[in-house]
């Protein structure tokens, strides 16, 4: 080969080498990129549930009061509200939102895209709460429908109410005989006329107008929405822009950390108020049982295999089985739990079953970690112990185990972190909707009755939420997933750190 050919060959080879190195780096970076994409996606989805408009936490704590229903109005999707309010027919009849409109129904229709159809078919009355409307009419509280105690002076109200034409225009009896939707419509059309006709010119800026101009919504919004001033807003033709601004502010409303997610017991109701407390406590209980089952048996098995086991076929069989168990798909453990624990041993779908199943899953990991830890101890120590006349168990107990306890602890933590994130084994034995923590007070925990109660676990609720067709539940799933990842990663980090520290401190 000539010199030039050789040089060219070498150059080619070097380039290829360099290309290959780059490909290698890229391969490693693929993993890194996916991991970061995953964390970013989780965080971005979770923030919708982690930071909620101020007041939602209070909302999550109890049933909705009529005042809170006004809050519900604010949580309507912006588009639904815009449709509602920019459409002339609806706008002219919009009244006391909290009492009149069936908010969840409205929301459903808006999200399903059928709201427009309802309006066109003049069936928007279906989103009204018929009995509330009827009650208001019968109590003759419709006068308050144009409650002007802030906008129109008190004297004006009396004038309006005493004006026989108002009564004639309102004709409450006739309205009472119509269907609530129609009646309401008629009533408001007429009230509109009244309001329009009666509000004096140049009466000075109403308080509402002032509030709108000042942008001081935060404190006054509840009052604004609860006072039935909508007629005036309609009269001033400010309703559309008023609600638009209100919506903008709602989105910019100061957010608070959604502690309700971690403290509420509801997990399957509406997406906004669901929380993970039951799942969290359930997970802790299940993991406790799992560790109590796996660690003693695993450490004992590891000790036996390393210290006591002779090299015969039985030991080979045991080792093959352990290696096999480490590779069994986790759903098979779930099937075994179903057949054996639930039906054969009649343990039911309880925390005990779930803990035992996860313990079986964690067992091979603990065994392998124990064996590694014990193998790392040099033979001198054992020999020195035997030379002093110890028996085998004394050697293990007083010399081998203390030195290997660090490695065993690390292995147990890794097994723990794996068991926390496992869903498949407990999916087969879990009931779908469980909303109570296993025991309500600490005293009940002592009596161990909670072992037999129904359970739910963190990965389980995340799976349930992800499988829901409603997209809102995905945010819940993201936040739960974030919690899960943080727990798993911190446990792993603890294990790695412990391993590092212990390795440094032991000098053979």
């Amino acid at each position: 080969m000539t010199n030039e050919n050789l040089k060219a060959l070498i150059a080619r080879r070097k380039t290829l080498d360099w290309v290959f190195a780059t490909v290698g780096v890229l391969s490693v970076l693929v993993g890194l990129a996916t991991l970061s994409a995953l964390m970013v996606k989780l965080a971005m989805d979770a923030r919708h549930r982690a930071f909620v408009p101020r007041g939602t936490v209070a909302l999550a704590k109890g049933p909705l009061s009529p005042d809170d229903q006004a809050w519900e109005m604010r949580k309507l999707s912006g588009d639904a509200l815009r449709v509602l309010l920019t459409d002339d027919k609806l706008r002219s009849t919009l009244l006391d939102v909290g009492q009149m409109i069936d908010i969840p129904r409205l929301k459903r229709e808006a999200q399903a895209g059928t709201l427009q159809k309802l309006i066109e078919e003049n069936r928007w009355g279906e989103v009204l709460r018929a009995d509330n409307v009827r009650q208001l009419i019968s109590e003759k509280r419709t006068g308050r429908l144009v409650n002007p105690d802030r906008f129109v002076p008190e004297s004006r109200v009396r004038e309006l109410q005493e004006d026989p034409r108002t009564g004639e225009l309102l004709d409450l009896e006739a309205i009472g005989t119509m269907s609530p939707g129609d009646g309401l419509k008629v009533m408001f059309n007429r009230l509109n006329l009244v309001a329009n006709a009666k509000v004096p010119e140049g009466a000075g800026r109403s308080i509402l107008q002032r509030w709108i101009a000042d942008g001081d919504f935060e404190n006054n919004l509840p009052r604004i929405l609860n006072q039935r001033r909508i007629g005036s807003l309609i009269a001033e033709d400010r309703l559309g822009s008023f609600v638009e601004r209100e919506l903008v502010l709602a989105r910019q409303r100061p957010k608070e950390l959604n502690t309700a997610f971690f403290t509420t017991l509801r997990s399957s109701a509406s997406p906004e108020t669901a929380g993970i407390l039951t799942a969290w406590v359930g997970s802790l209980c299940v993991i406790a049982v799992c560790m109590l089952a796996a660690v003693p048996v695993g450490v004992a098995a590891g000790i036996y295999l390393e210290e006591y086991a002779p090299k015969n076929r039985l030991t080979g069989l045991i080792e093959i089985n352990i290696a096999n168990l480490a590779g069994v798909p986790s759903i098979i453990y779930g099937l075994m739990a179903l057949g054996l624990f639930v039906y054969l041993l009649h343990l039911g779908r309880s925390i005990l079953t779930a803990g035992l199943t996860l313990g079986l899953l964690a067992l091979p990991i603990v065994i392998m970690a124990t064996r590694e830890a014990i193998r790392a101890i040099p033979q001198n120590i054992r020999e020195a112990s035997y030379a002093c006349g110890s028996t085998k168990w004394q050697t293990v107990r007083y010399h081998v185990l203390p030195y290997s306890s660090g490695g065993i602890l690390t292995g147990s933590i890794i097994a723990l972190s794996r068991a926390i994130g496992e869903t498949a084994p407990i999916l087969t034995i879990a009931l779908v909707f469980v909303t109570n923590t296993p025991a309500s007070s600490f005293g009940e925990y002592l009596s161990l009755k909670w072992l037999w109660s129904d359970f739910t676990a963190l990965p389980l609720v995340m799976f349930n939420w992800t499988s829901q067709p409603e997209a809102e539940f995905r945010y819940n799933a993201a936040l739960a997933g974030l919690v899960l990842i943080v727990m798993t990663l911190s446990l792993n980090a603890t294990a790695i750190y412990l391993r590092y520290r212990l390795r440094k401190s032991i000098k053979w």
Partner: protein, 414 residues
């Protein structure tokens, strides 16, 4: 500590001590304790064998019940009988007598079982009666049962009348529909789903994992390696539900951007994420295997003027072939047995297809889907998941055995 019982000193110190007398004397109780402890430890280790046996037995037993070629009829007694165990048993006995007389089947072949379901919403027990007869006695049985139902105001649950499948139907037909009125028990759709997703995952994981391993062991300096290894280990520490969520909400929309018309549930996204999930398994085991190759081989190759790429591809990889094979087999087993990613992202349709852009259930996601519902113990659906689980177990076992064989065959001792 042990009370060291010294041997009786020999009367003449100059006489040598006989061998055999210089054993350590250990007290009797200590010996008993030692034996007890060793037995306890042995039992703990043996529990692994017991667990495996338990799993295998359970799968085999339930699957054998699944395959037993019989007709199954489900009868719902009236609520008063459902709540009372004694009455339910009496009713079962009466039905059995009637069947023995009228259905044409031999008494030994007829099986009438009372099954207890999970309690109803008000807490009362619910029971159903399952009747198993050979397929040949079908008409006679149906006549008898119809008459009995009339007489005792029972309800026959026609929707759950079943013919139990046989093994050839299970293994070779291509429709899996156990819940339908006309049930079909071909497991091939599930297997095809599993295979397709595994192939997609392996297409991602094997090249990327091996290349990453080669880079980390051959090219990277110590600091880079120590930094990169934890990151790859982190990939394996993430819970699989989170991967499933990621596949559903990020990867699938991304893929839909590139492949228009991709359905929301598809095997491609799930397979890709599963591939990324398996990378750490492949890469860490391969890398350990490559590190175990002695430096002399590499040095010899470098001495011949090879570049690093040539060395790694032609010397190191073949030398560590057994370890790399082990890594691949582990990756395959993991991919086959993965549940959550496919359950969330790959959908639940059962079609016999190898097209990754379609939605398909795998064996594992089928088990999840069915087991999440209401499964009375002993019903065909219940046994079907065990049959599917047995299939899965056998596949994983086959790959493990293959892996062990390949490893032994190509093992090089250094």
């Amino acid at each position: 500590m042990t009370t060291l019982q010294r041997q009786e000193p020999s009367p003449n110190p100059s006489r040598p001590v006989r061998a055999g007398k210089s054993r350590l004397h250990v007290g009797r109780w200590r010996r008993v304790r030692e034996f007890g402890i060793e037995s306890a430890l042995f039992l703990a280790a043996f529990s692994a064998v017991l667990i495996t046996t338990g799993i295998v037995l359970l799968l085999l037993i339930e699957s054998s019940r699944f395959f037993y070629r019989r007709m199954e009829y489900i009868i719902l007694p009236p609520p008063a009988v459902q709540a009372d165990a004694v009455k339910a048993e009496e009713l079962a006995g009466r039905i059995e007598t009637a069947l023995t007389e009228g259905s044409g089947a031999i008494h030994a072949q007829i099986e009438v079982i009372v099954r207890t379901l999970d309690a109803g919403p008000d807490g009362t027990a619910r029971r159903e009666i399952a009747v198993h007869v050979p397929k040949e006695a079908r008409e006679g049985t149906e006549r008898v049962l119809a008459a009995e139902a009339e007489a005792q105001s029972l309800i026959m649950d026609h929707d759950r009348t079943r013919v139990r499948p046989n093994i050839s139907e299970f293994l070779f037909t291509t429709r899996w529909a156990p819940e339908f009125r006309d049930p079909r028990y071909g497991v091939l759709p599930l297997v095809s789903g599993t295979i397709t997703i595994t192939l997609v995952a392996l297409l991602v994981a094997l090249p990327v994992g091996t290349t990453a391993a080669i880079y980390l062991s051959e090219y990277a300096n110590h600091r880079v390696r120590e930094a990169m290894k934890p990151i790859l280990e982190l990939l394996s520490a993430v819970p699989t539900v989170v991967y499933g969520y990621f596949a559903l909400t990020f990867v699938t929309p991304l893929l839909q951007h590139f492949i228009p018309g991709l359905p929301g549930f598809n095997m491609l996204g799930a397979g890709l994420v599963m591939g990324v999930m398996i990378i750490p398994y492949v890469s860490s085991l391969s890398e350990d295997a490559m590190q175990a190759v002695p430096m002399s081989l590499r040095e010899g190759s470098f001495a011949m003027g090879a570049t690093r790429m040539q060395t790694s591809l032609r010397v190191v990889v073949p030398a560590s072939f057994s370890g790399i094979t082990a890594a691949y087999i582990l990756g395959i087993s993991r991919a086959i047995g993965e549940t959550m990613v496919v359950a969330i992202a790959a959908g639940l349709q059962r079609e016999f297809t190898f097209d990754p852009t379609r939605e398909s259930a795998t064996i594992t996601s089928y088990i999840v889907q069915v087991a999440g519902g209401d499964l009375p113990h002993g019903s065909t659906e219940y046994q079907a998941i065990f049959a599917a689980g047995l299939m899965l177990f056998l596949m994983t076992l086959a790959f493990n055995i293959l892996g062990a064989y390949l490893r032994k065959k190509y093992r090089q001792a250094y």
